[in-house]
Symmetry: C2
Subunit: 387 residues, 2 copies
């Protein structure tokens, strides 16, 4: 076989399968074809399903196409599109290709008038793009796209062998593009679903926040501070604090006070000190929160942060009186962030401290109430002016 | 070229790219190879990343392999695996293949002792699987899997041409399998994210339900009844009620009373009749709910169900007094389901009706309080014994 670039192009086409970003994939394809096959320029018209139209998605080459990319759009009634969709290519040129030179010769011969008119129109469309050859990409019977090729750079003509090869290549490319689009769609859906989950959780957490008159915006602040602390810990010691952990921490800090939904409003909003019985109810909120969420396995570690964010490093916290390393890191982080935010906002029983005072008090409680490594991450953040 | 099945197999390998279910893909591959290449049997060992082990995933053919599928597992120190991973195939057989007959001949020759031992071990492994040929699937430098082929059915030997072709095919297959696995992983992640969203919403809605002493389980019942009504409407008139609508309805009915989070508990749980001012607050819950959710574009139509589930067909509802077709279908459905559930459970001000009585009352209110087509779907469900 005389086509020396064939193997290279085939290999390139195969590895395209794992490029899951359609735009990048299409650019790679156009550039590869142009370079390897040594044509003056190459363009790809791609089908847009929603509007049943074909758009010039990419256009490569020193000569360039006559029409700027993005401007060219061909509807289903365009002769070039109709020619391929009605499979006139099979009838005249052999499967999947139109060769302009051959088309011109054929036009001089006797043809059925309708076909002659269609071929003329098709040729005119190819001239607009300065295309010598048009190659169709089919997936099953759908025309997914059209590859347009300019002149060969060394002035040679395209051989039938080359045309056949391009037709085979076009079907690989169609498959790769379709695969990439399916992948992309799935990825976008995943992102959408994730935003839906986070935003709904944020909205509900804010609504629950609003019930406690003194904690307006508390959840949002605790969440962002928790994440800042975790990132600081990550930089100092990247053990365990991977993306997954950060995601659980995000969810957990959003939901940390969810159990307050079960505390009567008269207790939540009481101005004076709580009676022992009231205090008892109030201190039930972490366990209550964990109980609300316990049937959701996908929340994983996030539930531990809800359940244990009122444990204390010295074992004097609730609900279980866990000590030191028994307390999950996720809970230790929320505990410090929660306390810092409580100290720096007004509460029924006292005025807010300034940040300096709050940091000092939390530092003094390191090793008693708080995990010292989390405290030192908070202090670092403060010194760096990040909080 | 003498291999008549080549083109068929190549085409099959290409279309594999769009099979995104790894298990199905692997079965198709094994069956296709067995049939087209006419070998007695074929098996595929696939890499399992977590445990760095290779498992006999599929085994096809009338003869079958000597070891049942799923039982065979080869760790990284297995001679066959080591042979390919250390790329001894390149050294002895040419890229990516081991041919048992050739291996036996080579063993009689002088070889470095370590290599001789490894090759012997490799051959023994192939005998266990009754494999004449082993073909490696690499992706970049990772050994993704091994294709094992039995004897050719017509007693012929494998030609070098055939081996070369199988090696090329194996790399296509590796790519297709990898693509399918990436796809599958993404799909599983999407499902997980969707469950996370639904379950968290369900848990929070139930917690809010629990605040209103009289509505235990209300949200869950309204949700399932709304979906039943929608499916019944779909059967009668499939306009508009697609999967997307059902999903929005699911979310919307879960969240329909979310605004109650902003209603004081003393009003929610009051035993006697509400004062005009209290009633006013209570009737603010649909608008409040919509307000909580308004910043979440992904909720789409679901917000309309929250906002308008207390509108009435004759325009006498709240918050906006919408009439007839002005009321979104999603809200009309929740309205009927909500009322039916309220009627059939005890409330502070009255005992529950039985289902019969509730259906009669709702029928009487069709065209006044309720959209008649939704009422008739409810009645249909009741007659069919589904509620």
């Amino acid at each position: 076989m005389s086509i020396d670039y064939k193997k290279e192009l085939e290999t390139a086409a195969k590895s395209m399968i794992l490029v899951h970003e359609p735009d990048i994939l299409i650019k790679i394809i156009a550039r590869t074809i142009m370079q390897k096959a040594k044509v003056s320029h190459a363009g790809i018209l791609l089908h847009e399903k929603d509007r049943d139209t074909y758009i010039l998605t990419v256009s490569r080459g020193p000569l360039g196409l006559k029409i700027p990319k993005g401007f060219a759009r061909m509807d289903a009634d365009n002769p070039l599109i109709r020619f391929f969709r009605e499979r006139k290519d099979k009838q005249i040129f052999g499967d999947g290709a139109i060769i302009s030179e051959k088309a011109k010769r054929i036009l001089r011969r006797r043809l059925p008038p309708a076909l002659k008119k269609l071929l003329k129109g098709t040729l005119y469309q190819m001239e607009i793009f300065a295309a010598e050859v048009a190659i169709a990409s089919y997936f099953r019977n759908d025309l997914l796209g059209i590859l347009l090729l300019g002149r060969k750079t060394k002035g040679k003509k395209f051989s039938q062998d080359e045309i056949d090869f391009f037709v085979a290549l076009a079907s690989d490319v169609a498959m790769a593009i379709r695969n990439a689009r399916l992948f992309k769609d799935l990825q976008l859906e995943l992102e959408k679903e994730h935003r839906l989950f986070l935003n709904t959780t944020i909205a509900l957490a804010a609504a629950i926040d609003a019930k406690d008159h003194y904690t307006h915006g508390h959840t949002a602040r605790v969440t962002s501070l928790s994440l800042e602390i975790a990132r600081t810990l990550s930089r100092k010691n990247n053990k365990k604090l991977n993306e997954k952990f950060l995601e659980y921490l995000h969810i957990s800090s959003l939901l940390h006070d969810i159990g307050k939904i079960g505390i009567p409003e008269v207790i939540l909003n009481k101005e004076g000190p709580l009676s022992p019985e009231e205090r008892n109810k109030m201190e039930g909120h972490p366990a209550l929160g964990a109980n609300i969420l316990k049937s959701i396995p996908e929340l994983g570690e996030a539930i531990l942060g809800v359940k244990y964010h009122h444990e204390r490093y010295d074992g004097s916290g609730y609900p279980q009186g866990l000590k030191k390393d028994q307390i999950p890191l996720i809970a230790s982080i929320i505990s410090v962030a929660d306390t810092f935010d409580a100290m720096t906002t007004d509460r029924p029983y006292r005025r807010a401290l300034n940040k300096d005072g709050a940091i000092e008090e939390i530092k003094r409680s390191g090793g008693k109430q708080f995990d010292p490594k989390v405290v030192s991450a908070l202090v670092k953040l403060y010194r760096e002016g990040k909080i």
